[in-house]
């Protein structure tokens, strides 16, 4: 039996959050953490969490498993469980709505700030805006982000300044459009980022890289943004 300790909080009935101990019979199989959460829900239907695709594409089930953020659906027990114990908590730093469900409002507000859509003032061509394979390759490692918020909620700078620091997820997307040769708003984008908080709260500790379930590297993207700001100002 797997010993699971799960964070519980229902603001309508609980004065404060508490940890609930649950025993789960995994049948000796190396299940995904999401499977374990489903088994817990079968025992206690009041447990709340987000999930959707169960294959690491939608980014709904970002949770903190034994202290590390990740997607429950693609994290096998063998990767996270030590001494037969699993501690499940909501993503840190965001307000808890209930149990493992967090309010992603602040995360999305930062994402919105970087204007994550292609901007091009020239008239649209008849068919499409063409791009060379080399230019397209610059977007690899950037466009794959699924906005699960595992990275930003693993970042202490985002914990302390979620209203002023864009955070790794937002900055990865900021660079995705800065690097896109079809986007013509580079100057405006850089101007909006050129302050002491939006980009420069990143101190390069790479918690984001450590937890990203898609294997992306926001710290490198932030470095590129910094270099663009530097060459623009020198």
């Amino acid at each position: 039996m797997l010993q699971v300790s799960i964070y519980r909080y229902n603001p309508e009935t609980d004065a404060e959050p508490y940890m609930q101990d649950v025993q789960v019979d995994t049948g000796g199989k190396d299940l995904m953490v999401l499977d374990v959460m489903e088994l817990i829900k079968a025992q206690d239907t009041t447990v709340a969490y987000r999930r959707s695709c169960r294959e690491g594409v939608c980014g709904s089930d970002g949770v903190n498993m034994n202290g590390k953020n990740g997607l429950a659906c693609i994290t096998p027990l063998s990767e996270t469980v030590r001494d037969n114990k699993l501690v499940l908590r909501p993503l840190p730093g965001l307000p808890v709505i209930r149990d493992l469900v967090v309010d992603m409002g602040m995360f999305y507000a930062q994402y919105e700030k970087v204007q994550p859509y292609l901007q091009n003032t020239s008239p649209a061509p008849a068919i499409e805006r063409l791009q060379s394979p080399e230019d397209r390759a610059k977007l690899d490692g950037l466009y794959e982000c699924i906005l699960c918020a595992c990275c930003s909620t693993a970042c202490p700078s985002f914990w302390w300044n979620p209203d002023r620091f864009i955070g790794p997820a937002g900055l990865l997307q900021a660079y995705r459009f800065l690097a896109d040769t079809r986007d013509t708003a580079t100057e405006e984008r850089l101007s909006r980022l050129d302050d002491p908080f939006s980009v420069f709260r990143c101190h390069g500790i790479q918690n984001c890289v450590n937890v990203c379930p898609k294997g992306l590297n926001p710290t490198r993207a932030i470095g590129h943004i910094r270099n663009m700001l530097l060459s623009r100002a020198t």
């Binding site: 202490p156 700078s157 302390w160 300044n161 209203d163 002023r164 101007s191 909006r192 980022l193 050129d194 302050d195 002491p196 908080f197 939006s198 980009v199 420069f200 709260r201 101190h203 910094r226 700001l229 530097l230 100002a233």
Partner: protein, 120 residues
């Protein structure tokens, strides 16, 4: 775009650059001092070293770098932990107070350092 008037240069890029440049100067200075010290010093050779203008300039540069480096670093720490978001208005008062105190300490050390370097 977030505004901030209390950081070193009011620009994240400027602060970041100063942090890096001063770090290199400090590294060079302390490596140099470590080399001198491991080579063995007595009062006479130490005084002779510090009586040369280039050493005084180098030391003043290191002292100023330390001030700038500490200002940028402490500003980041203060704006992480002493904030309106965490403590309400008290956070702003405490942060301003902490910044003024660290600015006075920094200024005192620089002036005192000049006095020591040129008063030998």
């Amino acid at each position: 775009m977030v505004t901030a008037v209390t950081s070193m240069g009011r620009s994240g890029l400027y602060d970041w650059m100063m942090q890096r440049v001063t770090a290199v100067i400090l590294l060079a200075y302390f490596l140099f001092l470590a080399c001198v010290l491991t080579g063995g010093v007595d009062f006479a050779s130490w005084k002779a070293l510090y009586s040369q203008t280039w050493m005084r300039v180098f030391s003043l540069l290191a002292l100023l770098s330390l001030g700038v480096h500490a200002w940028v670093g402490l500003w980041a720490v203060f704006t992480d932990y002493l904030t309106e978001r965490l403590m309400g208005t008290t956070g702003n008062v405490l942060r301003m107070l902490a910044q003024v105190v660290s600015a006075i300490i920094m200024f005192t050390y620089v002036v005192w350092g000049v006095q020591i370097l040129w008063g030998l």
